[in-house]
Amino acid sequence: MSSISTQIKHLLAIAICGTLFAASGGNAEDAGNLYNTRFDINAGLKYFERQCSRCHGFDAKGNDETGAPDLTGRLSRASSDVGIFNIIRTGVPGTAMLPVAADLPDSQVWQLVAYIGSLSTDPANIDLPGSVVAGARLFANKGDCNSCHMIDGQGGRLGPDLSRIGERRNPEELLTDILDPHQEVAPRWWTMRVTDSEGITREGLRMNEDSFSLRIMDAESNLWSYPKRQLASIERVEESTMPSYTQILSDSEVDDLVAYLFSLRKEN
């Protein structure tokens, strides 16, 4: 299994170099990024940590408090290097995203673009060992993943919709999700166990919790909303309800499942 991460790093390096040689000269409207060597990416990282991390986070994963988006997956406002360049250069009107200093050379903006580009994984540059077709079969059959997860409107409601999971998670992260689902659990998928003033206890996924109220979905997909002050007890389990697949699938089957999940994108 560890071979996946080594392969990805190797392929990423090839991809970075490949893009360098493929880039052509020109302006911001029509050219690729000329500044995307390892040196440039590192320079972009330094600029990012200094100028951008206050809002976007040191890991570029965004910040709900500042409203700054996660930059490590698919970007909602730009689909190309040029688009990213223009956002950095001009900002996003009506948001806290300000333009960079007017006297910042284009070359430095491109280095920043290269760094942001390095945070997401381009599927075209990844050759995974598993089989997408076999992974799709495992998802529906042996893995029984679709009893909890939905893809394109088909499946269960007890886990995240995976229709476009390949845009948000890279293969390494997907591997971790499958083998160690408790390692990173979004609060939406924590479990709440509540007992009301009449002694009735219900358990469900934590759809939303705030200072004064709580909403859960139980195993039968029933939705419940409670004012906290009317509850006798509230218990929160900050773990995933998903089992680890270490003992359920073989190494090669996990590779297949990763390949399938990573293929799930909008264009498919």
């Binding site: 940590e49 100028q51 300000l98």
Partner: protein, 549 residues
């Protein structure tokens, strides 16, 4: 005449009487006489005697945010209903605390605009749009927190580091003074403070290697009267607390509003982090007067005393909190104190005459200090400075609290603060100073979801520095607090609630979902004998009152 009506309100409310009703049939005809009369210094000194008005950022010069209005009390607060809302036209984050004078409300808006509305209806009198350059150097969003008023003039900070004077009747600009060069990283977001015949104001830019200062301006001309640097210059006492020339880019911004004691003629003001924030290697020493409370002479700005909360800070624990002044019973005698819940997770009670440390203790989760020594200086836990690889420290960069106003109740004698128990991985980076560029030397990263941390409103006894009660909220809140003679603590939360707690017990009395983050402090006022409570949530200013009978 309006002034005389206004003065009746506190008397009647204090006696629990109902005020005469002024032409209630049509709300647009209730003003028999013109609204608004000039705000003299005498009115500002005695602001608590006219609680129908909220004439400065923190309500009164002592910044207690305690209102004598008691029409809304514990018995009827659950009946509050929305009276009006005002939609701020520029979409951004509202951190404004409105000012109300004789029925007119002044609302600052992002990025640096100002609107005057009828405080009974929310309908606009005038609006001022401040023209800004498009290459601002700001660390943390386009915010403005409020205005100061003297006579018929409003004073407002702007993001391009200007101080503008605006005619309160028309919105016309009277003068526009550049306080500092925005291209060098200076900016302004806080409400100024009127001290006698001067406009006192601070500066932001602590993440850009500025050198912080506190200024006083002539309200008539906009001329600078005095400037006190928050970092001593070469040859001045304290300058040797910085290695080499690091003092020149040492930060110590003064980006919030201070307080004033007329009897002592002392201005109290907090200072921010030393720069670069997270790399202390390049600025060895205590770094005076960063992360400090400064007491300044009200006429000259001369520093009377200082108290440094976090010497040689490497975690961005700004002492940018509003100082609350009160006279409390302490160990058998009445003491003039300043109360301070610091971003570094410690609460302090300090003698505001001398700067002597009286009491202090942690009020929120922290791992960086073993405690405070008898002088209030932190006893550091070794090895908690940021590293290149990252080190986990509590509180996180945002602190156990931050700029959002705490409150104090004269009824309970308790201090109230919005607090956060969190932790974060701190990183150090090597950076060279470049004018106008960020100069922070690192950053931070959360390793858990925000919902995994604990947030609460905490009530602290200033005589013991111990927590009396706490009310849990979620997630991390940046809402301020206001207390009233009705026995209530009003505040909000990041999940979009506005709510009222019993000031004595912390029991919830009322809440309403406003749907967007509360990023400001509430304030209360009265017009025509009716008490209102106002809070900004998201991009909207909401005003609540009791049902009309």
């Amino acid at each position: 005449m309006n002034r005389s009506i206004a003065l009746l309100a506190p008397l009647c409310l204090g006696l629990g009487l109902t005020l005469p009703v002024f032409a209630q049939e049509d709300e647009f005809q209730t003003v028999i006489t013109p609204a608004f009369s000039p705000v003299t210094w005498e009115r500002l000194i005695n602001a608590e005697d006219e609680p129908e008005n909220w004439m400065m950022y923190s309500g009164t010069l002592d910044s207690q945010r305690y209102s004598r209005l008691d029409q809304i009390d514990k018995s009827n607060v659950a009946e509050l209903e929305m009276k009006w809302s005002y939609q701020i036209p520029v979409i951004d984050r509202a951190e404004t605390v409105p000012t109300v004078v004789d029925g007119i409300m002044f609302i600052t808006e992002a990025p640096s605009n100002l609107t005057a509305v009828d405080a009974r209806t929310g309908r606009v009198y005038w609006r001022y749009d401040h023209e800004l350059p498009d290459d601002l150097r700001i660390c943390c969003g386009r915010n403005n927190r409020g205005v100061a008023i003297l006579g018929e003039t409003l004073f407002m900070s702007t993001l391009d580091a200007h101080l503008v004077a605006i005619d309160a009747r028309t919105g016309n600009v009277l003068w526009d003074t550049e306080v500092a060069d925005y291209e060098a990283g200076y900016s302004k977001t806080a409400a100024p403070l009127i001290v006698k015949d001067k406009v006192v104001t601070g500066i932001a830019g602590g993440e850009f290697g500025i050198r912080g200062f506190i200024d006083a301006y002539d309200p008539a001309s906009g001329e600078l009267e005095w400037r006190t640097y928050a970092i001593p210059g070469s040859g001045e006492p304290g300058n040797d607390s910085w290695s080499g020339d690091s003092w020149k880019t040492g930060g110590a911004a003064t980006w919030l509003t201070g307080s004033y004691d007329p009897d002592l003629n002392l201005i109290y003001w907090g200072t921010g982090n030393p720069g670069p924030d997270w790399n202390g290697d390049v600025r060895l020493g205590d770094n005076l007067y960063s992360d400090s409370a400064l007491a300044l002479d009200g006429d000259t700005g001369e520093i009377a005393w200082h108290f440094q909360f976090t010497p040689h800070d490497v975690h961005d624990y700004d002492s940018i909190q509003v100082p609350i002044l009160a006279d409390i019973e302490y160990q058998g005698s009445t003491r003039k104190v300043m109360m301070w819940a610091n971003r570094n997770a410690f609460f302090y009670t300090i003698d505001r005459v001398t700067g002597e440390f009286l009491e202090g203790d942690a009020y929120a989760s922290q791992t960086w200090a073993q405690g405070l020594d008898p002088n209030g200086r932190p006893i550091r836990v070794p090895g908690m400075a940021p590293t290149y690889e990252g080190i986990l420290v509590s509180p996180p960069i945002v602190g156990a609290t931050n700029w959002y106003s705490p409150g104090y109740s004269q009824q309970t004698g308790l201090f109230y603060v919005t607090s956060f128990d969190g932790e974060q991985e701190f990183f150090k980076r090597d950076e060279d100073y470049e004018e106008g560029e960020r100069f922070t030397g690192g950053g931070g990263r959360y390793n858990q979801p925000m919902d995994a941390f604990h947030s609460s409103i905490r009530a602290i006894n200033p005589a013991t520095a111990q927590i009396e009660w706490e009310f849990p909220i979620m997630p991390r809140s940046s809402a301020g607090i206001t207390t009233t003679a009705g026995g209530i603590v009003f505040t909000g939360s990041a999940d979009g609630y506005f709510f009222a707690l019993d000031a004595a017990t912390g029991e919830e009395l009322w809440h309403i979902s406003l749907g967007a983050r509360v990023h400001a402090a509430p304030m209360t006022y009265a017009v025509d004998g009716k008490q209102f409570v106002t809070i900004a949530s998201g991009n909207v200013v909401y005003t609540f009152g009791l049902k009309d009978n």
